[in-house]
Each structure stands twice: as C-alpha cells, then as structure tokens.
Symmetry: D2
Subunit: 148 residues, 4 copies
C-alpha cells in the first residue's frame, strides 16, 4: 500500500476529528468540543511549536487513514527537548498495512530534524496489537506510569 | 520530623547538585556539566515557566534532604497543561520520614494553583520502595513506556 | 471450522511430537528424546493420572492441528487438586479458527468432570496473540512467577 | 538472629495454624476447617509425598516464626518433578532477619536432595517486600498467570 505522510492541514478538520474520535473511543473516553477546537488549532499553529500532528493518506487523496500527535517538552536529563508521541491511530480497514509504522518513523524523522531525537510514548500494557508493532520499532522501557 | 518544602533557590546549587547526582546514580547514569547548568538555571528562571523544582529541608537550615522537578507540558486531551513530576529524591538517611510524600503533595498543590491538576510520573516497575509510597498518594495506570 | 477434541492416543505419537516441537521452538528450547518419550508415555498411561493430554483434529482425520497438556497437582488452599494447563499449541495454519479456545474449554470440562474446577496456566507477558484469547476465556491474575 | 529450619511436626499444629492464618489474611482470604485439617495432615503424612512443609523457629523453642509449603508435581519439559514453593510466611516481628531467605534456601536444599532442582513460586506483582528478597535469591520470569 502506498502511503503519504504529511503534516496536518486546515482542510483536514473533519477527517482528523473522525479519526481522533475513533481513537478516543478505544480508551472509552470523550473530550468536549473546546478540546477538539484547541487541539486542532494548536497542532496547526506556529504559535504552538510544541504541538504537532501528522496524518496519513492514500496518494489518491481519498481521505485520511491515520494520524499521530507529537509534543515537544523539556526534560531535566538533557538540554534539548524530548518528543512525546501521543494519539497514534490507524483506520481499522488498513491496519497491518504499515501505516502505523510509517507514522512513527515520520515522528522519528521530525524529531531528528528538530535536534531532539529522544521519542517516547505510553501504551496500555494490554494493547497487544499496538505492542506487536512497537516491539519492532522501539524498546519497551521498565517504566510504568502513576497518576495523581 | 518537621519538613520545610520550598522552591529551589540560587543558593541551593551545591546541595541540589549533590542530591540530584545521588538520584541519577540510582539509574546508573550521569549527565554532563552542561546539563547540570542548564537544568539548574531553567528550574530557577522565570524565562522557563515550564521547568520548576522544589526542595525539602529541615527547619534548622542544615542542608537539603530532598528534591523534585516538575515540568508543565501540553496534552491533546485537555486545554490546560499537564504536570510531569520528574526526579523525586529523598536523602537516604531520612527515608520513610514523609519527605517524599510532602514533596509529591507540594507538586499537587503547585499543579492546582496553576490550574493544571493532572500530575503524573514514571517509575521503574521494580522500584519497590518508591511504589510503596506512590500506591498511597496516586494510582498506578495501565500505561507502560516505549522508547525509540 | 469443525474441530474434534479428543484425548491423546498411542497412534498420535508422530503428530504430537511434530506439534510439541513447534511449541517448544516458540520458547527457543528443546528437550532430549528421553523427555519426549517420558511425557508421551505418561500423558497416555493410567499409571500417571496426573498427566493428561488432549489433541485437536479436523473431522476428516487429516492430522493433528492442536494439543494441550494438563497436570493435576495438590494445592494447600483446597482439598481437591488444581489443574495446571501446560503447552497449549495450535498449528499456525489454523490459528484464529477457535482451536485454542476449544482446547481450553475441553480442559475446563475435564477439570469439572474430575471435581477439580480450578484451572490455571502461565504465559509470557509478551505473548500478545495468546493473551487476546486468554482474556476472553480466563482472568489475568496479579501473580508473576519467580524461578530459582 | 539464629534460626532453626526443620520439617513440620505434629506438635506444630496450633502454631502452624496461627502463622498460616496470618498468611491467608495477607491475601484477604480464608479456608474452611476441612482445608486446615487436610493440608496439615498431608504435609505431615508419608502417604502424601508431594506435599511438604518446613517451619522456622528460634533455638530456644519459643514458637514458630515462619513456614513454607512446597509441592512436587509433574512437568512435561523434564522427566523429574518440579517444586512449587507455596505459602511462604514470616512472622511480622522478625521480618528482615533472614527467616524468609533461610526458608527458601531450605526448600532449594530439599529440592536438590530429591533430584528435582527446579523450584518456582508465584507472587503478586505488587508484593514489594517479598520481591526485594526474591530478586536476591531467584529470577523473575516473564511468565504471568491466567486463571479460569
């Protein structure tokens, strides 16, 4: 399958919203409209260089088939930022076709271009299908997450 | 034990460096001098509001007994930032005396004051002593970390 | 897919050996011939009622497509034995067709018939495909295994 | 602290029951009287060679300070049995004094004497104090337990 990975653009709003909603449903969660609006705007805006998004589509422009958000933030262990890859989603119909891998690798490339090569993400321990991919392109750390 | 928790101050550099070095040794790592310098400066500077540090000391001013860093960063699921609690350390001689708990609670209070109540941190699955405390003040999420 | 589950029989030796070898390869291990001989004999013999095996085949008798071993052993928390389900294997060509589930359910039925309904097994944390099935037919316990 | 490790004896019933009850309370469970009776009898009887128990006491005979059960059972990967170490308990007052370690090592010695050196046990992922010891005397496997 030929896949195009490119930055999110203003024309993607409906498709981005459709895919991200499907993603949030995997976590049995919803976000208010204000969060949709804020995140879409920030991921596009040059005023929010820490928030970025990439989307995947087929070369024929028939609609988005995947998305990923990535956030730059500070880290005390290094001078440069780190990259938090958040919200990786691939349309159910095209899973297993390399879209997720291509999105992760595009984040890696963006991280390298920014001089911030450290990329990490979080996933539920029981996200078996995701982890089959992640084990191929990254390393499981021994770190687990605690939340207030 | 009476404990004072306060923001990091310029006079703390030697003590902060001593404690943070002990912390990094737990992870069998080191950072270059440039990282010590950058992180100390950023945690103090108003030009870096995303990086902050608190320290613990006894009321008699006899030196630091604990430190914690916390970083504000964006998150797509909410309009406001989240707080990443990083580098919690308590001097070995005073462990079990409530210093770690007091530092975490001070980060919670700072997060609330900033209107960003979501606080999280990462710990190694086998950090048994830390987890004994964390289970009391937070919730273990099912999320594990992958790294490029 | 129509599946027949039945006890291991003496005529199954070659097919049982073929499948179990494939299973052991998943764990990157081998066992000596003496272990093949002992386990096959014990799983068949009435002199070893604690060791049992079931196999899966298609109704046309075209060869085995799955196997499972199960072992009865004592447990201090109950008067009756418990059942340790060991070595569940399904031929790669028929995975996803319900063979694994049918083998597990047949062990459950055998356990019930023996008056020893407690059945458990161990799996590697990263056995994603297996766990997709296990989450449907059993419960992940919080127990992890330590070995001398 | 000087510790004596010896097999369970008929005179230990009241002390064994006291310690085992404390152990079961850690798991927020109880067992009926029939299970106390059966397990005590079987752990003592030559008719049940698969069930065995060791106890720890001080040299002055002032009462039991620890217990461990261990069960021999079959395993398809080896001709000889394996040893399932179950129900390790140390009185709260003497924890950290080497009693748990001595009990585990005594099971190892019993396993070696029986020609069945493979010893394993299960523990809850969040049994932090236990795991501090287990990491010193054994290896955490990647295996987790599923239960019907």
């Amino acid at each position: 399958m030929s896949i195009v990975i490119r930055p999110l653009s203003p024309a993607d709003e409906a498709e981005w919203r459709r895919l991200w909603t499907l993603y949030l449903e995997l976590y049995e969660t919803t976000v208010p409209d204000a969060v949709y609006a804020a995140s879409f705007a920030r991921n596009l805006s040059a005023d929010h260089p820490d928030m970025n998004a990439l989307v995947a589509e087929r070369p024929d422009g028939s609609g988005l088939i995947g998305l990923v958000h990535y956030i730059f933030h500070r880290h005390n262990w290094r001078e440069e930022d780190v990259v938090y890859l958040q919200d990786l989603y691939v349309d159910a119909q095209v899973r297993g076709g390399g879209v997720g891998r291509a999105l992760i690798q595009a984040v890696y490339a963006a991280a390298d271009a920014a001089g911030t090569p450290a990329v990490y993400w979080m996933t539920q321990e029981f996200n078996y299908k995701g982890r089959m991919l992640y084990d191929q392109v990254a390393t499981k750390s021994p770190f687990i997450q605690y939340r207030r």
